[in-house]
Subunit: 419 residues, 2 copies
DNA sequence: TGTTTTATTTCGGCGTCCAAAAAAATGTTG
DNA sequence: CAACATTTTTTTGGACGCCGAAATAAAACA
């Protein structure tokens, strides 16, 4: 409630409303837009024709296939969708053992991908931005898309990202801290760029795919090579004052617990992440420093099997993990009482081993009254979710910050990139 | 971004903008309103004259005292402020040993107060709503204000309040759980009523007194007979999906820790609250159940003095409290990275004893990069803050839900109470 | 071919904003 | 003390975006 309202705001808001409906439900006819937005048919006509004139949307020229829904009377609908060629976005996922890039069109469809297996841990941190810029250039070259048609770059990274400063504050993928990224990309390519935490991007993707289901407050926990969390508060991913937030993995579980990658002791991650499980199973968790290498899936499968066979060390590792996760979630519930907690990632394969201990910890850790309103679910999420979420977020940002404004600011600085 | 925009929204938004400026900075001239809201003088004239016609605002009739600011040329300003007689609100504070009530006018000035020392712990829970309603009736009778001129009742309670259901889910002030309150008040008095957590109301009061200072994300921790927290997220008090949230006091610190009033073990409150400190000092914290009585201030002063004298048991009690508080805050920081954490309440008297342990725990509990951006302050807050915050919240709600709408819904159901 | 049905567009009216000009109310000055 | 300067507030006229109602478009049906 801080912005003054005038006809400009009305236009922006309603254009955005219409675009959001389109992002969520895909191509639709004008009548449907009316249903989704609550706007009158007259207004829908006016807004959509402007968006079409701006080149942002387009009418579906293909004659509507009458197969579906049998034969209906009346004037047929004309589907409208985003003009895929109007704007592109690039998503980059940085992980411990390399980069993954994707180029998407204005509808969010992926046009090209690129993977590079450069371990960046020990690399010169100043070179990192350049590397990413070069990779993006190569990706665009392959797809024959000029830089000027890319409206935005989104970068998802494990660890703490400061999206205001555009830096990677701390990440297990780098030895050094505070690595500048956004500024380098923006200077080299001239494309607005934003760095964010990878778990937040999963949350972003989930919102994109099911806005109603993630409408209120929810927490998405990623378990795997690390432990991350995306926090959805009032239907929006919470990024905190600086963009660095929801570091569930590095929330303390027990003082003086085992060493974590972040340098502290007793973090949730130091019990639940891949390397932590292996370390517990190996028996000397209290003294052993954390591993900084990527862990092959086979190792984890072997550990799971050992636990299923009943090997004491393996069983106890999952018990410790369940307890740490349970108390961690109990603490989240006490603070935020989310209506939904989603567990995702490869770590959930071992859910059967973890669950009993998790539930016991939850019961011990939080008042019944609060716990009862929280649904805890395990959702299998393909790893591409991070890329998809990053694309989603970038497109939604472009919708809001550029497309919503309309012809009045055609000459605004932010539009340069769409020419 | 979910509401359709039309001229109705524009009117609501700008009326509200103007009223918010008035709430925050007090009576002001039209020019000033323009500065605060960004609206043109023409619009300010139009909006303010409508609000005056509605009876919500009034011009200051008193000839402007020229003393301040010496002699200025030009047409003098006419101050505008809320019409104090247009709407009243009632605030009720429920604590372990009684009720405290206050009646405020439309400007937030307190017109009358009332206190009742009825211990409610063992009382018939169904009688509680009736008791509150009777107390309100008595308060209004004393002030000669008819029920119909009270736009809203706000009730602040220690413990978990479900403001959607209008119930006290769990509170140390009651033996029983899920006590209905709002519905009883609404039926008996016909005034809309809302229950909320007391620490949240402190946060609400702080926002009201210094909106800029609490603009982003902040946590207000109350330490005293219990431990509560109000969470400000993006400038707004976070109430969670049901209205029950930010139960920092009942966030687990250590599994299998000492018993807490909530029935669990190891909550932050079981280390930091008055009764917990006394229990630790008495030596047998592990086995002793928590006290449910109000604790006289003298006991706490004696304990503080004992600790200052260096008595081992007392010193160690504060050390435990500092550690629990420190790790608790560290966990909050990991999840939300608030830019500000405010400690308040009588418990902060012993801050000198607590601080070293608190700081050590913070260092051990959260990555430097996150901790560095958080300012932790101790703010002395008079106990009336809860009443003031409750009044503030009630008035702001009336502004938004009733006054902002304007003449078009003069006949709307919510206005019945203002006649 | 005419009728029915559904989708979309056109038209006129309404509410709110704003810029600019006018009016109001006071201080300053010769 | 009258004319001018200065500041606040109101009035006026135009713009924009929404909406309801009527008109138009494009089919299926009979």
């Amino acid at each position: 409630m801080r912005e003054k309202a005038d006809s400009d705001l009305v236009r922006r808001q309603n254009r955005l409303l219409l675009m959001e409906a389109l992002r969520q439900h895909g191509a639709m006819a004008r009548v449907e837009m009316g249903r989704h937005t609550g706007l009158s048919p007259a207004s829908i006509t006016s807004i959509s024709s402007q968006l079409i004139a701006d080149g942002i949307l387009e009418e579906d020229t293909a004659p509507h296939v009458p197969s579906e829904g049998s034969h209906r009377r009346g004037r047929p609908t004309t589907q409208i969708d985003f003009n895929p060629k109007y704007a592109n976005v690039v998503a980059v996922k940085v992980s411990i053992d390399g980069l993954e890039l994707a180029l998407a069109d204005g509808r969010g469809a992926i046009l090209a991908r690129r993977t590079s297996r450069t371990a960046t841990y020990d690399a010169d941190p100043t070179a990192f931005g350049k590397l990413v810029a070069d990779e993006i250039t190569a990706l665009l070259a392959k797809a024959r898309v000029p830089t000027t048609r890319v409206a935005r770059v989104g970068i998802a990274v494990q660890g703490v990202a400061d999206s205001q400063a555009g830096t990677v504050v701390w990440s297990p993928a780098f030895r050094t801290r505070n690595i500048a990224v956004s500024s380098v990309i923006e200077e080299r390519l001239g494309i607005p760029c934003r760095v964010a935490n990878d778990a937040n991007m999963i949350a972003e993707g989930l919102i994109g795919s099911d806005r109603a289901g993630y409408g209120g407050t929810a927490a998405v926990v990623f378990m795997g090579y690390g432990v991350g969390m995306g926090l959805i508060i009032n239907g929006q991913v919470y990024h905190g004052p600086t963009g660095a937030a929801a570091e569930f993995g590095h929330m303390n579980h027990l003082p003086d617990g085992p060493l974590c990658r972040c340098g502290r002791r007793g973090c949730v991650e130091a019990y639940v992440a891949d390397y932590s499980l292996l370390r517990w199973a190996s028996g000397n968790a209290a003294t052993q420093p954390p591993s900084f290498n990527a862990i092959p899936e086979a190792h984890m499968l072997a550990l799971e099997e050992a636990a299923h066979r009943g090997e004491a060390a393996a069983v106890s590792a999952y018990a410790k993990a369940g307890e740490a996760l349970g108390f961690g979630l109990a603490r989240i519930i006490a603070i935020l009482t989310p209506s939904r907690i989603v567990l995702a990632g490869p770590g959930t394969r071992a859910m059967a081993l973890i669950a009993p201990h998790l539930n016991r910890a939850l019961e011990a850790g939080v008042v019944d009254e609060l716990r009862r309103n929280v649904a805890i679910e395990v959702v299998p999420i393909d790893t591409d979710m991070i890329i998809k979420g990053t694309i989603d977020r970038a497109l939604r940002h472009v919708d809001r910050e550029i497309f919503a404004h309309g012809p009045l600011m055609k000459r605004g600085r932010e539009l340069e990139n769409i020419a």
